[in-house]
């Protein structure tokens, strides 16, 4: 990967990407890891092993342990500089060992795991280069502390949990917590809300300490007494915790590892923090103070303390809020310039008659359609920041078709709502797990729990296979209709079934040119299917655990996948190994989406955060917190500026990518939101949910209402207007059909799809 990266940057040759597999291979052999990558490297084994949490822990290497212990010690004493230095220095030798060790130890989990590790190692060496040289340090530093522990738990839980070895009197935990609670309840209102954030992480860590030190009964009592005080959105985590009453249980528990390995991030105003600090020091409440020092990251800001609603809006994720620095990196959210394509205007009679002025008139016409494409958007990445495949003739034709259709597009708004067509999957026997529709709405594909992928043609044009090789040789290749001749009429049918997976197909995505179909499955693979021959072309192995989602880049060629192993991977169709690995999520990656300019990838996760990753360097450039449940749907606005996300909590949140802010909350759904889609012009946001409804929201208004003054932008404190009801334009019921997929046709007709569950 490093080589890949280097190749891209140094040579700036787009076509180089084709030669990358070789580089990749080389890269894999020499796993040179600098210190900085330690965190990512560590993260990957951590995540992998935690994914397979019930496996016996992989064997540990003593050297590594020692080093890690030292690291831990340094960290504990807040010698972060030294930690960094030690890592960087030790990384070279130690991490090689590490990865080797993992390679050997992880043999049980398949060779691919080893590959993965080395891959990431590669990536990280590159990343370190980037981050050292560039200003991305902050972005990467964000991850560092949170990731540091990840690798360490696996070797030996005890090392990780060593922080817990300090013994307080178990009986006093209760007292400590109560006294803090009393204190916080007695402080001024403006501080109380902020300081109350401390409760949950404190509670968790105190409980875990009790459990770790084998005070089972005290732990249970402690849990009984205080679990009710916690915010309701932590319920899921509390449930997991409550089951954990023995030290042995802590081994390999994912949630636990999340708590242990990542610092819970709190944002507290300076005043409030001082108040807390003073109190704890006065009372000599060292137990709590230690926990705050060790396990919490308090992001102190100057200014007014935040209100309860502001805090509630942003909290809820597994590891607290995102640090402010995490969202400071610049994101090029603008769209790429569209290639110039001459649109034949043969269907415009008026133009045809106008002989002389014709060529001139043509241009403004084209401009009006793709005005954004004319001028370079200042927020857009450079055209070749990410090498994109060259347009083929067929792609150009399709672009022309697209533009023609676009002229017939209906402009939607609160007064002109789209018509909705519903594609019902009948006789799916509760087995429909994923749906996708091609951009031109000519094909629809479904992924099923019985491991099949089915493709339907929704136009009268039937699906045909290409003829066999023997038959193809008989064809006159010079003829004009050769493309028609290669198709085998005998195979024409309305639908085709693709067999190949060995587990439910959870993610499915058409390539933009409609030649390929991707499917990701529980069997840990992503498969690429040809829609010409209706056969499987490639099986991309790398995840090793269920792959929950996959999506093609809007320009084709690249695709992203994410799954249970908490790592999102970027692939190119002609590489059997991933080009990038995006790791940082603390729980399963549940959905993945490409930014319209293909330079970024958004991933939603069960850790209730959304991350935006830079495809170029693999950095996490945005962390969005605020959802209270696993995120199952993501959608970028067509202009690339905004992101919408839907979760099991039934809420849709809107994000400003440029500023890294939450800018809207759409309440209304009563069940998990499984699909989100913006209309082609971005005026309407459609959301489809398990509650059998499609809801339409006034996206324009939601974005216009937003006021981004400097203060808000700087601090990230948002005041969300309670305007869900105003923004809700309509609720549309289906007949016991959960809405699994939504799609706007090029003319802005809304297609919804789902399986009828009688």
């Amino acid at each position: 990967m490093a080589a890949v990266q280097g190749g891209l940057i140094d040579t700036e040759e787009e076509k180089d990407i084709k030669t990358e597999p070789a580089n990749d291979g080389c890269g894999n052999n020499n796993n040179n890891n600098t210190a900085n990558d330690g965190r990512l490297l560590n993260a990957s084994p951590g995540s992998i092993s935690s994914g397979g949490s019930n496996k016996p822990a992989t064997g540990a290497l003593e050297d590594q342990q020692t080093l890690l212990a030292v690291l831990q010690f340094l960290k504990k004493n807040n010698l972060s500089e030294s930690v960094e230095i030690l890592r960087r220095e030790a990384g070279l030798s130690e991490d090689t060992e590490d990865s080797k060790g993992l390679d050997s130890s992880g043999a049980g989990s398949g060779g691919a795991a080893g590959n993965v590790d080395s891959e990431s190692g590669d990536a990280n060496s590159l990343l370190s280069r980037v981050s050292v040289s560039s200003s991305a340090v902050s972005a990467s530093a964000v991850q560092a502390p949170s990731k540091a522990g990840a690798g360490e738990d696996q070797p030996d839980v005890n090392v990780v949990l060593s922080a817990y070895s300090q013994q307080g009197d178990p009986a006093l935990y209760d007292v400590y917590y109560s006294s803090l609670k009393k204190f916080i309840e007695s402080v001024l209102d403006c501080h109380r809300a902020e300081l109350s954030q401390v409760f949950y992480p404190l509670f968790v860590h105190m409980y875990l300490e009790l459990v770790y030190n084998n005070h089972e009964n005290e732990a249970k009592a402690f849990f009984e007494k205080f679990s009710g005080d916690q915010e309701c959105y932590y319920e899921d985590d509390l449930r997991v915790l409550s089951g954990m009453t023995k030290k042995e249980h802590m081994r390999g528990n994912e949630t636990l590892l999340d708590f242990r390995t990542s610092k819970f991030v709190l944002r507290i105003s300076r005043d409030s923090y001082q108040l807390l600090k003073r109190h704890l020091q006065e009372r000599q409440n060292n137990q709590i103070w230690n926990i705050i020092q060790e396990h919490l990251y308090i992001d102190i800001f100057d200014g007014m303390p935040r209100s309860k609603s502001q805090i509630d809006a942003m909290s809820g994720s597994l590891a607290g809020e995102a640090k402010r620095e995490a969202n400071k990196a610049k994101v090029f959210y603008g769209l790429l310039k569209e290639p110039e394509i001459e649109v034949p205007l043969d269907d415009e009679d008026e133009e045809a008659e106008n002989e002389e002025g014709k060529p001139k008139k043509k241009k403004p016409k084209k401009d009006s359609m793709g005005s954004k494409s004319k001028k370079q958007d200042p927020n857009a990445p450079s055209q070749n920041r990410i090498p994109l495949p060259e347009l083929k003739d067929s792609d150009k034709l399709d672009k022309i078709m697209y533009m023609k259709e676009a002229t017939k597009r209906i402009r939607l708004g609160p007064d002109t709502l789209p018509s909705i067509c519903f594609y019902s999957f009948l006789n799916a026997y509760q087995g429909l797990t994923a749906v996708d529709v091609t951009d031109d709405s000519s094909l629809i594909a479904g992924g099923f729990a019985d491991s099949t992928v089915r493709v339907w043609s929704v136009t009268p044009k039937k699906l045909r296979k290409v003829k066999s090789a023997a038959d193809l040789s008989l064809i006159d290749k010079e003829s004009d209709d050769v493309l028609e001749r290669i198709m085998d009429e005998k195979t024409a049918s309305e639908s085709k079934i693709l067999y190949g997976h060995s587990g439910p197909v959870y993610g499915i995505s058409f390539s933009p040119d409609r030649n390929y179909l991707l499917s990701s499955s529980e069997d840990g693979t992503v498969r690429l299917w040809s829609l010409q021959t209706f056969t499987c072309l490639v099986g991309y192995k790398g995840h090793n655990y269920p792959v929950w989602d996959t999506q093609f880049s809007p320009y084709g060629y690249y695709f992203v996948s994410g799954g249970h192993d908490r790592v999102a991977r970027l692939w190119a169709t002609d590489h059997y190994q991933p080009l990038r690995m995006f790791s940082g999520h603390l729980a399963d990656i549940t959905c993945t989406r490409f930014h319209p300019n293909s330079n970024y990838v958004a991933t939603g996760s069960s850790d209730r955060t959304i991350r935006l990753w830079d495809v170029l360097n693999g950095n996490c450039v945005r962390i969005f917190t605020g959802h209270k449940g696993p995120i199952h749907a993501l959608a970028f606005s067509p202009n690339g500026k905004f992101l919408a996300s839907g979760a099991t909590d039934g809420r849709v949140l809107l994000w400003d990518i440029g500023h890294g802010l939450m800018i809207g909350e759409l309440k209304g759904h009563t069940d998990t939101i499984y699909s989100l889609k913006f209309s082609r012009d971005g005026e309407i946001l459609a959301s489809g949910s398990m509650d059998n409804t499609v809801r339409l929201w006034d996206a324009m208004k939601a974005f216009d209402d937003l006021e981004t003054d400097d203060f808000t932008a700087a601090t990230g404190h948002i005041h969300l207007p309670e305007n869900s009801q105003e923004l809700l334009l309509g609720t549309y019921m289906s007949k016991s059909t959960p809405v699994v997929h939504l799609h706007f046709t090029r003319r802005n007709l809304l297609l919804a799809a789902g399986a009828y569950n009688p």
Binding site: G52, N54, T245, S419, N427, G431, R454, Y506, E522, H564
Partner: protein
């Protein structure tokens, strides 16, 4: 060891219930595995376990169980399901390197059985006889193919006006069989063979699988407009309507409107066939009117406002003097068929205005006017029948309500309801809901709910009677008793069923009355006291036997539509047997001695057609009624055809007289 642990799951409660119990916070969150279970399992595996070991194991099992449930819920979420399946759980197990549990994949819930001694639950695991299974003849069908269907759910963000998928899907799913059926049926009905037609109609009436064809049949029926020259075809189409309406398996939905408009066409339009006086289009109109009332009574609730729409259009026709008399006739019979309330609301207020026109027609004796005059007599007859029914029903309703009020018999209320439902022609359909229940006593409720004629107020019966009498004179065959009357109605008089039997003022009872040209062919004697309930009401008019030769008056020859009391029905055979028996029983007034509340009247219809050429249909000369005690000695001197004479004495008589009886 792990293996042992996992097998224990079987002994715990059902897997999905764990998921459920974890969801609610307050409840006990987890399934607990007691150490005894662990020991038991261990024993069965041949291992001896100490108590402490078992306890530890039990706890660990619980924990692992929770963990597996947790991760299995993830599979459920990603499969976009709400139900946690065994398959999900097995996946979680597999990913935790634990053997999956087989044999629990069945779709339906597994029944747990408990053993009384010791709280042990287990799943019944019956032996399956494979041989039997293999040789079974009922081979399960394969699952239907998964498919995608698209439908436009919402247009421009608005809901589809058409009910989802009824019409289009029906059209789409028209199978070849149905198409054949449709062709055969339409051919048979519109074809030559009457027998085939009967069979086809019968099938149409009872076939349960033709819902998809309904739109087509409705379309065919709407073809009435194109065959207005052919009475026979019109008749057949109407029969088709009848069959469709009577088919219990069809949900007509909004097609009712279309059917009604076709029927209305037959009732109201000056059909091409009516140009030829030889064509008996009158019968067609009668039949269509009857059909209309039937559609109403069975399907009137499907389309809101239909009742009033129809009344309005009938009213429009009636008030349009340009329309031919046959249209007017249609309007009148239509109103009549819709019930006496419709007559009261529409026909009665229109009568004064209409009368002038009709009179003009009837008074014109020129030869050129002969045909028109004949038509006029038809209309006249129809109006007469309608208003007579009106008077009768109104009086009945009054007496009913009076009775209900006095004796407050619950039975009468129930009877009233039943009556409302069962007798189509008598009161409006239950469309304005309040009227349904008040069908009889609705005079208490001025201008019922939902009535568009706000200005309409019920005219008191005496006034109405007076006015009608001024028009029809003695043609009005309804008389009211002049007994002690309602005013002095004894409140608690027990019902006297015998009254009815005493009442019948059969001709035999009055042999002395001599009448010329008696036209009355059926009479009704309703004694409200009779049986104390409206069960005396005739059955709802059935559409069954309406032969082509039927005449306007629901005469004695057609037993179906005539309102006839028991007493008179016994006579009807006699009556129709010979014209010599056509003695007009003018009016039979119960003497006060026969029973105080008894109040009886007779309806005079007329029999027309072959026998009397329509020339002088109403030429009835009434001899003075035998002066029964309370009847004013009144001589009916005037002779027909003096229609609509407005004689002062008449009016005075009516007014003064009637007021005695009905203190309204």
């Amino acid at each position: 060891m792990q293996l042992v642990k996992w097998k224990l799951i079987v002994q715990t409660s059902s897997l999905s219930s764990i998921g459920v119990s974890m969801a609610d916070r307050e409840e006990r969150r987890f399934a607990e595995v007691p150490r005894e279970s662990v020991k038991l399992m261990a024993e069965s595996a041949g291992v001896e376990l100490g108590d402490d070991v078992a306890a530890l194991l039990a706890e660990d099992v619980c924990y692992r169980l929770r963990e597996a449930t947790q991760s299995s819920s993830q599979f459920m979420r990603h499969a976009k399901r709400r139900k946690l399946t065994v398959e999900d759980f097995n996946r979680a197990l597999r990913w935790s390197n634990v053997e999956a549990i087989c044999g629990y994949g069945a779709q339906d819930a597994l029944p747990f059985r408990s053993v009384k001694e010791g709280e042990l639950f287990f799943i019944e695991d019956r032996d399956i006889n494979l041989v039997e299974l293999a040789l079974a003849t009922n081979i399960p069908k394969g699952c239907a193919e998964t498919m995608v269907r698209v439908n436009v759910s919402y247009l421009d963000g608005k809901g589809n006006l058409e009910p989802q998928g009824t019409v289009p899907s029906a059209v789409q799913s028209l199978s070849d069989d149905l198409l054949k059926y449709y062709q055969q049926i339409t051919r048979a009905i519109l074809g030559e063979d009457p027998h085939l037609m009967k069979v086809a109609l019968l099938d149409l009436q009872s076939n349960s699988k033709i819902a998809a064809l309904l739109p087509y049949f409705v379309y065919v029926i709407s073809g009435v407009k194109s065959v207005s020259h052919d009475l026979e075809q019109l008749n057949r189409l109407l029969h088709m309507v009848k069959s469709l309406v009577q088919n219990p398996y069809l949900y007509l939905g909004s097609y009712v409107r279309s059917l009604v408009s076709s029927v209305m066409y037959c009732i109201l339009e000056p059909l091409a066939a009516s140009i030829n006086p030889l064509n008996d289009h009158w019968t067609l109109r009668d039949y269509a009117a009857l059909l209309l009332s039937h559609i109403f009574w069975t399907h009137g609730d499907l389309v809101s406002g239909l009742y009033h729409q129809i009344l309005l259009s009938l009213q429009k026709v009636l008030s349009d003097p340009v329309r031919p008399l046959c249209s007017h006739y249609g309007a009148v019979v239509g109103l009549h068929a819709l019930g006496w309330k419709a007559v009261e609301r529409v026909l009665y207020p229109h009568l004064p205005a209409y009368w002038a026109n009709l009179q003009a027609v009837l008074d014109d004796y020129s030869v050129s006017n002969a045909q028109v005059k004949a038509d006029g007599h038809k209309v006249y007859g129809a109006i007469l029948v309608a208003v007579e029914r009106l008077l009768k029903m109104k009086a009945l309703s009054l007496s009913q309500s009076a009775e209900g009020g006095f004796s407050s018999q619950p039975g009468s209320v129930v009877g009233a309801l039943g009556y409302g439902v069962s007798s189509p022609g008598l009161s409006p359909p239950p469309e304005p809901l309040s009227e349904a229940a008040l069908g009889i006593a609705s005079h208490l409720q001025a201008g019922g709910a939902g009535c568009p004629w706000e200005e309409w107020t019920p005219v008191p019966l005496p006034a109405m009677y007076c006015e009608l009498y001024s028009f029809f004179g003695d043609s009005l065959a309804v008389r009211f008793s002049t007994g002690p009357g309602f005013g002095s109605y004894p409140p608690c008089t027990p019902p006297q069923p015998n009254d009815a039997r005493k009442d019948p003022p059969g001709p035999a009872a009055n042999p002395d009355t001599t009448r010329k040209m008696p036209q009355l062919t059926a009479n009704l004697n309703i004694s409200p006291r009779q049986d104390g309930s409206p069960r005396t009401e005739p059955p709802p008019p059935s559409l069954a036997a309406t032969g082509p030769g039927r005449s306007l008056a629901r005469s004695s020859s057609s037993s179906s539509s005539v309102q006839r009391s028991r007493s008179s029905s016994s006579r009807s055979g006699q009556r129709s047997a010979g014209p010599s028996r056509d003695v007009f029983p003018k009016a039979r007034f119960t003497t006060p001695q026969t029973g105080p509340p008894a109040f009886s009247f007779l309806i005079g219809g007329r029999q027309m057609g072959r026998r009397c050429q329509g020339r002088r249909p109403f030429q009835t000369i009434f001899a003075p009624t035998p002066p029964l005690s309370a009847v004013l000695p009144r001589t009916y001197a005037h002779k027909l055809p003096v229609i609509g004479r407005v004689g002062k004495p008449v009016r005075r008589w009516a007014c003064s007289h009637y007021s005695l009886h009905l203190p309204l």
